[in-house]
Symmetry: C2
Subunit: 350 residues, 2 copies
């Protein structure tokens, strides 16, 4: 069986029908690039090794609907791998396995799908979490948007770890692993054609998505015996939404220092130009860490010594505040409430 | 925080933005109906108990894009639970946990979403596999189709079991747990308004989807010590596609007896009326079993004694055939090759 390699070959409804065309798509594209013993077996699921004794099972799932599908620094494929693996890693768990489900729109270019699949395969390979099972559906033209990818990650969590959004304690220091807003601004640029709009301004073209798998950074923090209370990747809704979630879950307040929050010059300039706040822009390769004050210097050192955390910074701390307010001291010394994001400044960011 | 309960409230882009509206949708709808300790923790994933020593981990994932969303006998919600749990069960594994990811179209009625969520919650509850983690994305009007649901199931597989599509052996008997084509014909009727078209014919209204979770039937077969070689649920592409998959995986032939294949009178009449073949219609609550001839009578007895297998039948056997052909002896004594499904007679069946 063979899949058309013609440059203009497109997804057809038959590719989702479970018949010969489906089998060709699976063998010619998915199994070919994701190749591993579980997927190649061709069953409806994957039978994997068990966990080590005492380990807990961690599951996380994310649908990815980012638009455009390709953007500086990545594409929906590697994003779908990184996004879900990061949710597993943010539980403190080592990612082990991935499942991937595709919803394809009739007429989508097979060549574009292959680019995406190759990107996923590379990201999964680099992360050490193979794509062991999957599914493909095809919807009629106009009932989808090219491709949506839902990935689910499974990982192993050492039984003694108790990491979660509710575990912040008063006095904990808040660290971020690098500059914020890079992914969100990249998508905005790519979508709005800001490069064109802002001819003569070179900041837009300097913005690149930070999409990356964060487990190696989490592992390094663990190896350095940093006591981790909360780990979270500030994706949709950015730092602002994520910190409000943590404050609500932990029933505590958070106080930030604006001058300590790392923002790249290009993102800062773009934000100023567009009137956007980097606090609400998505990140896809950054983590927030809450740890005891005593561990914060070591955590910072570990992060800065790692390629994923070169620009890490301590940006705030947890205070007693039953209202769960997130407040920021601005550069000018004022105080600003960082509220939940209202509305959606930027749909389909991930 | 509260979600609008107005009858005409609709999904907005903000429900997918990760801010306040997202939190309201999660707490007011998903967490409310799926309520369990893991989901309520509100983290990006679920930290679950580990597996029993020696058990393997089984993962299966399926996107559900069925159209229409509601149909006689079920809806996309229970279908999304059953479909994925069945893929886990078909590996011989007990389903334990579910993850659910929603892709909502802007403008979709929240009341319809709630009906679907309630149906999912009930199906998960009945199956004993709670929905422990999830995700919601919203796409602009015209970029989706109401709601797509991707579910991923995790289960535990006793280490000694070795069930899979490649495990069929020459001489094995093929059993099906009941009538075929019920789900496919139901969707076709619902979509084509066949009830209207065929006023005066009452067969169409008698067809109801068979959507159901099959693990209890698998468990009963295991408890009766039936030696299971292959288990598969003939969903998309029906019996025809599934048997070709098994034949290809096992590099063996399959020989069917048409007169032994159970088809309900209503589905048979509808198929005749529409010129369709029940062999290629989807099922969502039926399993195919391949087991040694010596175990077949016991397997049949177990199935027939279970509500999910009342109309079970032995319909064929595995023969030596390196070409992997599936052949059927017809009612009239002729021979017919049951080929892979070509094209897609019925898109978006599940």
């Amino acid at each position: 069986m063979s899949l058309s390699r013609a440059a203009d070959a497109r997804v057809e409804l038959a590719h989702g029908a479970g018949g010969r065309a489906s089998a060709e798509l699976i063998s010619g594209l998915f199994a070919r690039h994701f190749a591993n013993e579980w997927l190649l077996r061709g069953d409806d699921g994957a039978a994997l090794p068990g966990l080590a004794p005492g380990d807990r099972l961690v599951l996380a799932t994310d649908s990815h609907v980012v638009s455009p599908l390709f953007f500086p620094g990545g594409d929906i494929g590697c994003l779908a791998v990184h996004g879900t693996l990061n949710d597993v890693a943010m539980m403190g768990a080592r990612p082990l396995w991935l499942a991937a489900a595709f919803i394809l729109e009739e007429g989508f270019l097979l060549a574009d799908l292959e680019r995406i699949v190759i990107s996923m395969a590379r990201a999964a390979q680099e992360s050490g979490a193979p794509i062991v099972t999957g599914d493909t559906k095809v919807v009629e033209r106009g009932k989808g948007d090219g491709v949506f990818i839902t990935t689910t990650g499974a990982g192993a969590l050492a039984a003694e770890k108790n990491i979660g959004g509710a575990a912040a304690r008063v006095g904990d220091v808040l660290l971020v692993s690098g500059t914020i807003g890079d992914h969100g601004m990249t998508i905005l640029n790519a979508r709005q054609g800001l490069d064109t709009l802002s001819a003569g301004m070179d900041f837009a073209s300097a913005v690149v998505s930070d999409t990356a798998a964060l487990w190696p950074l989490v592992e390094a923090l663990g190896a350095a015996n940093v006591e981790i209370h909360v780990l979270r990747d500030p994706t949709r809704g950015g730092l602002g939404a994520t910190l409000n979630e943590i404050a609500a879950q932990s029933r505590a307040g958070l106080r930030l220092e604006e001058r300590d929050i790392p923002v790249s010059p290009a993102v800062a300039a773009s934000c100023e130009f567009l009137g956007l706040d980097p606090l609400y822009l998505a990140n896809e390769g950054k983590l927030l860490l809450l740890c005891p004050e005593a561990d914060a210097p070591r955590a910072l050192e570990v992060m800065r010594g790692h390629p994923l955390g070169r620009n890490a910074a301590a940006i705030g701390r947890v205070v007693e505040d039953a209202r769960g307010f997130v407040e920021m001291r601005t550069r000018t010394g004022g105080r600003r409430l960082i509220d939940w994001l209202a509305g959606d400044p930027l749909p389909r960011i991930c």
